[in-house]
Symmetry: C2
Amino acid sequence: MTKDRIKQEALILFVHKGYEGTSVAEIAKQANIRASTIYAHFESKEQLFLSLFDDVVNEKLKDLAELKNRVENKGIKELLQTILHNHLEEIEHHRDQAVFYKRNAIFPPENLKDKTQAILIFYEERYSQLLRPAFAQGVKEGILRNDPIEKLQTAFYCFADGLYVLSHYYDLSTYKKAVHDTWELFWESIRNKQG
Amino acid sequence: MTKDRIKQEALILFVHKGYEGTSVAEIAKQANIRASTIYAHFESKEQLFLSLFDDVVNEKLKDLAELKNRVENKGIKELLQTILHNHLEEIEHHRDQAVFYKRNAIFPPENLKDKTQAILIFYEERYSQLLRPAFAQGVKEGILRNDPIEKLQTAFYCFADGLYVLSHYYDLSTYKKAVHDTWELFWESIRNKQG
DNA sequence: CCTACCGATCGGTAGG
DNA sequence: CCTACCGATCGGTAGG
């Protein structure tokens, strides 16, 4: 379908050149159609972008829910490691989607800030809700430090976001090593040493 | 001086709207001059941007060197805490410079990628060199875990970059708390527990 | 999905 | 530091 083709090429261009740095004509060229055809499928460049952002966010929530089911009841360490593993897979095989999300979560197009922010708040709340029970159980079982759950979750977000930034600086194999090394230290910091 | 005024306004606009999202005319308007006047001071929009990027990077290196002198010989913990404190001050009082750096380090304008990358490599090498002795001493004195220095430094970069990303999501007071909390856990992960 | 088209704006130059 | 200007491209529309 042409609509999907447009989305596919638009996402790649938005990742590499940014929203403002990508013209509708360029997207059309990559999709082998005329620029005007894009307006048969999308109201505007803005709507095309927002449709992509929405897709990516929903995909991420679906992935997390599925992943959570897969490791059901195996404990917080397994869950976090699986998220990290998934994260690595994403960067290795679906780099563009991963970068599209982060780039526009942190630096959205100026005119669309309000709309991306709204989607983002919805996303982050869901994400937190999905993880909270596992963290709570980890603390209860004495696997994690006896700290407020928000503190532990914030630390995990900080760690995961930091890794994401590092993925922009390092090549893949250096990055994999960095993930392995920093995970070891991070886990050390949140686990319960009395246990 | 008009040249400085142009730089000042350009930086702010590049932060909020991105390089491609900011027009030369817009910069001129904010600086209260005509667009053509910008070309009396800069060869091109590209050169204006690169001059800003260079400035910001040099400023950061100068800050780190100065800060290092200030805490000379007080040990790795004090040094890292001071860097973090400095980081918070930067976000509180020089937000635009801080964001300009990170935004363009991670997502540079497509056409200028090579040039920003070259500046960046220079910067990160210097930064690492400045920190390495303090990490080495920390390990030697048994204050830090007996791990490879690169591993400990990478963990610190991951932590610092993660905090940077969080600063985009949280308001200042929530952010300050997050810095405090995550630092506590991070330090726990790299210190030597035998000591 | 295309041709043909539009007003607005883009980065940049000439010449003073 | 300005006026006057330029070719190219922008996002988008009409009409088929």
